[in-house]
């Protein structure tokens, strides 16, 4: 048994850390983490950051060499996530493209799709978004109803997607549309590549409780997609979507490392807060409990990672870390806000930056217990697919 990353992964770590030092905005690593506030400028900033990462060879490095990647092993991808988290790097806006769509097209796309889209995904010349959820199809994704109706060589799309991240930046959308009614609700769904820069598409940012507008509603009215842009077969898109979802494992690492950052921040906060407080011992023990629980989550994450690295499929166990890390982060961040005392009632970014940070981390953490599978759905998955309990009654 061993917990070391190994020499090769550590060498990648050193190279990437040096690259980050050279390419992050000036002052970033010493704490000056400023992103433009204006939405259009923020989009431009993030897009440039994605292109920089791509130019450095860091985006899509897990792709096969034949498609421009370097077959980087999973452990090296984890190292990258760890280093990005360590400096709280800006969001990588083409995550959907390089981590989800790219590998899916490599596995299931046509030769023409691979030739056309893969190079542009890799360079981040084209940024992608994912169009899955709808107002009436969240946890019950198979209830989606955005229609794609054949019209000559095209399909015409009418309907709405929601919770689409970075849709204001995206050039392409990988979406699921209803093309037919089958024996099961999962039949009659088609995976499609859609050009986001065409008339008929309206993107409306969703104002989230943390003040961000990263997620969007996207309305499709008379939007066209070519038959050549069907991924897999018509009416058989559900399995394509399931293939794509299994590529989300690197995103989980980012969650684990974000939790680590919050724990560090909690320790610093308690050190600051207990200098004048009589409740020092109580606060110390509260934080010590979180240290224990965070250790447990990391140990579980590395156990699961060990299985994947050594070729053992995680299967439904993959739901477990997402469930525990997001719920723990929400709880920890809540304690962080609580330590701010009365100032926790202020939404005032000019005041103590620590107050703003805890507020932001806490409100954002709530979203992660909902996105990518709500905690309730994940508990169902654990109970049904791991413990073998009977499925919920449903239509």
């Amino acid at each position: 048994m061993d917990r070391a990353y190994g020499a090769e992964a550590e060498a990648v770590r050193i190279r990437f850390r040096r690259w980050l030092g050279d390419h992050l905005p000036a002052g970033w690593t010493s704490g000056k983490r400023e992103i433009p506030k204006h939405p259009a400028e923020e989009d431009r900033f993030l897009r440039r950051w994605a292109e920089d990462l791509a130019r450095g060879g860091w985006a899509g490095m897990a792709w096969p060499a034949a498609y421009g990647g370097r077959d980087a092993p999973l452990l090296e991808q984890i190292v990258l996530e760890e280093e990005l988290a360590h400096v709280e790097a800006p969001h990588f806006v083409n995550f959907v493209g390089t981590n989800l769509v790219g590998p899916t097209l490599i596995a299931l796309g046509s030769e023409s799709q691979k030739r056309t889209y893969l190079p542009r995904i890799l360079s981040c010349e084209e940024v992608w978004c994912q169009g899955f959820s709808e107002p009436n199809a969240g946890s019950d994704l198979a209830a989606l109803s955005l229609r794609a109706v054949p019209d000559g060589q095209d399909l015409v799309l009418t309907g709405q997607k929601t919770w689409t991240s970075f849709a204001t930046i995206a050039d392409r959308c990988f979406l699921l549309a209803r093309t037919g009614i089958g024996a099961r609700r999962h039949d009659g769904i088609t995976a499609l590549i859609v050009d986001m820069r065409q008339p008929g598409i309206e993107v409306r940012p969703i104002h989230q409780i943390n003040g961000s507008r990263r997620f969007n509603e996207v309305f499709f009215s008379g939007v066209r997609a070519g038959r050549a842009d069907i991924v897999g077969e018509i009416d058989r898109g559900w399995s394509v979507a399931m293939t794509m979802l299994q590529f989300e494992r690197v995103a989980l690492a980012a969650q684990v490392f974000a939790l680590r950052n919050s724990l560090t921040r909690l320790v610093r906060t308690v050190e600051r807060a207990t200098r004048t407080s009589e409740a020092a011992a109580v606060r110390r023990r509260t934080v010590a409990e979180f240290v224990v629980r965070c250790r447990a989550v990391e140990a579980l994450f590395y156990r699961h990672l060990s299985e994947q690295i050594h070729g053992v499929a995680l299967g439904p166990r993959g739901s477990l870390v997402k469930l525990v890390v997001t719920e723990l982060h929400k709880e920890l961040a809540g304690v962080g806000v609580g330590l701010m005392g009365s100032t926790g009632a202020l939404w005032d970014d000019e005041a103590d930056p620590l107050v703003a940070r805890w507020r932001d981390v806490w409100l954002t953490s709530i979203g992660y217990t909902l996105a990518g599978g709500t905690s309730e759905i994940l508990r169902n998955l654990v109970a049904e697919r791991i413990l073998g309990l009977p499925r919920d009654l449903r239509d």
Binding site: M1, R3, R293, R295, Y302, R303, I309, N380, P390
Partner: protein, 359 residues
């Protein structure tokens, strides 16, 4: 990067499970509770024949010479079966303490552990002091508890001293003059328990005194061992509760179909897997002599304590009224978890061992 047990380690655990199942599983605990210790004594003999007691004892002392990671699955199985006996105290605490000592008495005791002819108990709670004078050293213990006082040969006591570690382990012969036991009734029916009184002078040439640093390392290993046994207990509770949820029907269906039951079981599964992960990490940290091994061991015990209480309570909930009967095993698991809450260090002591560091 590989935080998994090896195939050999898994196989050893499975072999111990077979042995414990053949002995009757929790029936051994029930017979012990009913005042018939012979089944337990037979079990200890069978475990000795399989080499289990010597798992951490060096090969040149007749043991298997394995590391703490190898003991993890074995300890889980012992916890799963609620097997009565001072396993963590003997196989881990005493073996770990004696292995680091050059004292010939300690080395001789290692061989006895491996052969199954020596059992060790540990005092907890109460007060313990060692008073040194020109007449020698005298041990005073008041109001302490020990598990299986009638069945152990050596008694370990963590005595306060002036050292930076604060205390060290002293191992005295149970039959020494000056040691008195009051047999008491335990909450956990699968154990024996007694109050221990020691009123000097039990320090004899037979007494083994472990240095403070070595004592701390032995207690770290002991904490991981207790955590492993609690993981075994928890996983058995999960297994029984899941089976019950699949077979018990109410309102025309298995109760496991209802989300209240289903989600509770999912959370129990989380607790077991998280606890197990800390046991692996704690055992690995100790084997590797990692700089954070004390924190890793304390974390394993603290988390297993909290989790096992919750899981065992949840297990009773899932079983409904049945879970509240003496006939069901569910209360045995709960009472084991409760009894060990302060064993190996209170939850507060374990939390205090966590370093609040900025990484």
């Amino acid at each position: 990067m590989d935080l998994r047990l090896s195939a050999d380690q898994v196989a050893f655990g499975q072999a111990v499970r077979s042995l414990l199942d053949s002995a009757g599983g929790t029936l051994v605990a029930r017979r012990f509770a009913a005042g018939e210790p012979t089944t337990a004594v037979d079990l200890w003999r069978e475990l000795a024949a399989a080499g289990v007691p010597g798992i951490l004892v060096p090969e040149d002392r007749g043991g298997l010479g394995l590391g703490l990671v190898s003991a993890v699955p074995v300890l889980e199985e012992l916890g799963r079966a609620l097997a009565p006996g001072p396993f963590a105290e003997t196989y881990v605490l005493a073996a770990a303490a004696f292995s680091r000592m050059s004292d010939p008495a300690a080395k001789a005791r290692l061989a006895d552990i491996a052969s199954g002819s020596l059992r060790v108990g540990l005092c907890f709670g109460g007060e313990a002091h060692l008073v040194r004078s020109s007449q020698g050293a005298r041990l005073f213990v008041a109001d302490a508890l020990a598990f299986y006082p009638a069945h152990v040969d050596l008694l370990a006591i963590d005595v306060a001293d002036g050292s930076s570690e604060g205390s060290h382990l002293v191992f005295v012969r149970r039959d020494s003059p000056g040691i008195r036991f009051d047999a008491r009734t335990p909450v956990d029916p699968s154990v024996g328990i007694g109050l221990v009184w020691i009123d000097g002078p039990v320090m004899s040439p037979d007494t083994i005194e472990c240095d403070p640093a070595g004592s701390r390392r032995a207690i770290d290993a002991f904490r991981v061992a207790l955590a492993c046994m609690l993981v075994g207990t928890m996983s058995r509770v999960l297994e029984l509760s899941t089976d019950h949820a699949k077979t018990r029907t109410q309102f025309g269906q298995p109760i496991g179909r209802f989300q209240a039951i289903k989600h509770r079981l999912a959370d129990m599964y989380s607790a077991v897997e998280l606890s197990r992960s800390l046991c692996y990490d704690g055992a690995l940290a100790i084997e590797e002599g990692r700089s954070d091994l004390a924190a890793a061991a304390a974390a394993a015990k603290a988390f297993a304590t909290t989790s096992s209480l919750r899981v065992c309570l949840d297990g009773i909930q899932v079983h409904g009224g049945l879970g509240f009967t003496w006939e069901s095993d569910m209360h045995l698991f709960l009472k084991r978890a409760r009894s060990w809450e302060h064993y190996g260090g209170s939850p507060a002591d374990c939390l205090d061992a966590m370093k609040l560091e900025v990484t």
